[in-house]
Symmetry: C2
Subunit: 474 residues, 2 copies
């Protein structure tokens, strides 16, 4: 990186970190083992950058000592969860230390009396949910990457996911955080309590701060009773307008807040179905919606499902499939979950976006992305969490374009897309974060006065700027 | 106040503010009209302090100009909503300007397509809810003082209320804020969107910041479909243990999250019933619980109510009344809502607390408050939002004690109470805020490192410290 104001990881520093974590938990040899710490799930290679050293602490005390050392030497520290992020947030763009939380992976407590779980940041979301299932509980704020993502990363990015429309995002469920500050102090905000106005909401400020204000070492999570019943409804529409028209009707006319409303455009749905060898009549679908409803009463869940079916049919659905058998529900969800992976098979020159707009503007967004795609001669795939207007719009390079052409047009495409999003009252990231990838576009959706306030907070809490530098803003 | 580092409101400043707001919207004559701006709903007179001037702006531009002036002159500004707070948050302890938002009271938009309302801060919560009712919508995050409190105040304190156990507190519903910064700039965070990770969660930091970081001038509120059906269940128990035992069972065994679980001890319930001329057999109640369940399906609501009744009876309820007629539901809620007013009739020497503890520790809390009451020869009333462990524990002066005795023991009583709360993993305020009243007790529940971070944020965003000084911390 240009103008690197930081110190390098010297042999002495490496030795001190080996002293703290143990030799087997430090990588400092530029071996192939270190490669995966240079990137996250952003497909474009230009966003990769290797760390100088990877440290894998096991305890808060080890984290504290590493940060204390990094602070004294002014070495940048980039915390890393599973590396499943989509904004380059865990990429050490200034080198330095990659602080991987992979070994801090214990579920410390599941308190069924108070409905709170306490975990370390390296616990995989799915593992936590499996454990909760035994107690009839669940953690509602999980992203669709739950098979791989870490809870610490969910908190750092304020992850959303497929059920946010009913259950809200990660921040709604985090009731406490233990964190090591950039100068190596251990602080704690919140705990086993569901209301807390003791001074500023530091907890909420830290959630979604993308590892730029400290390293989370312990997380308190509010648990909710696992709904007894669940139904999934897949509706195939002739075109986009019919599909998007049904979304507000479900909530307003139906007075139903489904646990999921997912949108899939023609390309996404058909490619995912093909890739799964799906027997559904996917050729009929100009656009599809996947709904999930849940609750503690079978009658109400199936009544709600019936109401949604009715609304979809009125809105012009050509086919509606409502299912309640677990394997059938999983089958439909798999189509939705397959999409990002299917799109990736189109090559690494694509950009998975994360825009948010008001629900009523969805038709306009889809029109505009079609227009942009035509202008630049590319394909733009659209899918995502329609219930809260969060779309993973994905521009994909035309195979006929050169890499240079692609690199030249992509900033133009994103600028155009983001300007539309801003005009519609939306923003450029709903759940993936700004990270390294989107920071240059922040001024499109945020004024200088607002950015100044954010920078003031960064300066106040990390004056040496060693925590995950190069992210969110410069 | 000792060591007042601020400038006074001179004739010139007053004239400039008259110029901004108009003469009829400024009070600067120390008349009786100004008296009510010297206090909020904290009953103890020692927490009152008059402003030097009251300004009642109508527009964001007027707020901007007043703050710009105050900033240049270094005059403290205390924003004020309805004055219904319970922590001295709206009391201008350093004098200066009281900035009353009472005239900024328009409902600007109710967007039924996107389920978002936009309001000015001076809108009364109940007025907003009445408007929403027409559209089959509601704002779930409202406090029990909804007849008088302003939405701006709810946001400034991150108010909770009777339905937080199911719907969450105010912060869960605020999707955007327009604010004037302490130096008179207009900023905006969020808007009509339900997910937003564009940089730091400034929105969440500002919510609950008690007017110490700026003045809110416009608020975006997420709306939810109004539940079609509602039932209220009042359960009278022989003693406290039976009552508190039922609370976790409802959520864990019943897998039900009621929209309210309110606790009333013997004194509170009986005095409220008497004051209302209530015919219920209140003498039988050693403690009572009020539950509310709601939903879009009659069958599920009445099934849930039946399950709760069963659990209460198993837990030793002596009487259970389940009602669904609106006037009967209102009748039971009135008992709960009457409590703070009934307690006030015991005199102004009492302190309405707002502690939060894990639900499983409720029996221990009630034991300890009984012990403290005996030690100091006083009465301590207990009532509150049991579903989230938020208790409005209220120590009340014994009529035989002198005012001096009371003033001497109350810091001891609160210190003892707060130490227990801290030991149980709780905190000293769940929804009323720290304000002026509780700031000296902050170190009992928060370490120096945590307080240092909060102070760093205050310094970063209000370096001259003109916004609501003397609140939260010094």
């Amino acid at each position: 990186m240009k103008d690197n104001p930081y110190s390098s990881v010297t042999e002495d520093v490496a030795a001190a970190i080996v002293e703290i974590c143990g030799a087997t938990n430090v990588l400092y040899d530029h071996s192939a083992k270190m490669d995966r710490y240079a990137r996250d799930q952003v497909s474009e290679k230009k966003y990769a950058h290797p760390p100088e050293l990877v440290a894998k602490p096991r305890t808060v005390d080890e984290v504290r000592r590493i940060l204390g050392l990094a602070h004294r030497k002014r070495i940048p520290v980039t915390p890393r969860g599973a590396g499943s992020g989509l904004s380059g947030g865990a990429v050490p763009v200034y080198g330095g230390i990659c602080l991987s939380l992979e070994r801090m992976n214990s579920i410390l407590e599941i308190d069924t009396d108070n409905l709170v779980g306490i975990v370390e940041p390296g616990v995989i979301t799915r593992d936590f949910d499996r454990e909760l299932q035994k107690h009839g509980l669940f953690f509602a704020g999980y992203p669709l990457s739950r098979e791989i993502c870490f809870l610490g990363g969910n908190v750092a990015e304020n992850a959303g996911g497929g059920r946010a429309v009913k259950y809200g995002v990660t921040s709604h469920y985090i009731t406490g955080l233990e964190m090591v500050t950039p100068d190596g102090e251990v602080v704690r905000f919140g705990g086993k309590r569901f209301k807390d106005v003791t001074g500023y909401s530091m907890l909420q400020l830290l959630i979604g701060s993308e590892g730029t204000l400290g390293v989370f070492t312990k997380i308190w999570i509010r648990l909710v009773p696992r709904p007894r019943y669940r139904m999934v409804l897949l509706a195939l529409f002739e075109d986009v307008d019919c599909a998007t028209g049904a979304i507000p009707q479900v909530m307003i006319e139906g007075r139903i807040v489904p646990s999921a409303i997912e949108f899939m455009d023609r390309l996404c749905f058909q490619e995912a179905c093909k890739s799964l060898g799906e027997s559904l009549p996917y050729e009929q679908a100009g656009a599809s919606l996947l709904f999930e409803v849940d609750g503690s009463h079978l009658t109400s869940v199936s009544e709600e499902c019936g109401t949604i079916e009715e609304i979809c049919r009125k809105s012009g659905a050509v086919q509606v499939f409502a299912v309640s058998e677990p394997d059938q529900m999983e089958r439909f969800w798999k189509i939705r979950e397959r999409i990002p992976w299917v799109l990736r098979s189109f090559g690494s020159h694509q950009t998975a976006e994360d825009i948010v707009i008001p629900v009523s503007s969805i038709p306009r967004l889809l029109e505009e992305t079609e227009r942009i795609a035509e202008t630049y001669g590319i394909v733009i795939a659209n899918f995502g969490h329609a219930g809260d207007g969060n779309f993973h719009t994905t521009p994909i390079k035309n195979p006929d374009q050169s890499e240079e052409q692609w690199d030249a047009i992509i900033p133009e495409i994103l600028t155009e897309l983001y300007r539309i999003v801003a005009e519609l009252g939306g923003t450029i990231s709903g759940e993936h974060g700004i990270g390294h990838k989107r920071k240059r576009y922040m001024p499109l959706v945020m004024g200088e006065a607002e950015l100044k306030m954010m920078r003031a907070i960064k300066n106040a809490l990390d004056p040496l700027k060693i925590m995950n530098p190069g992210k969110i803003f410069d």
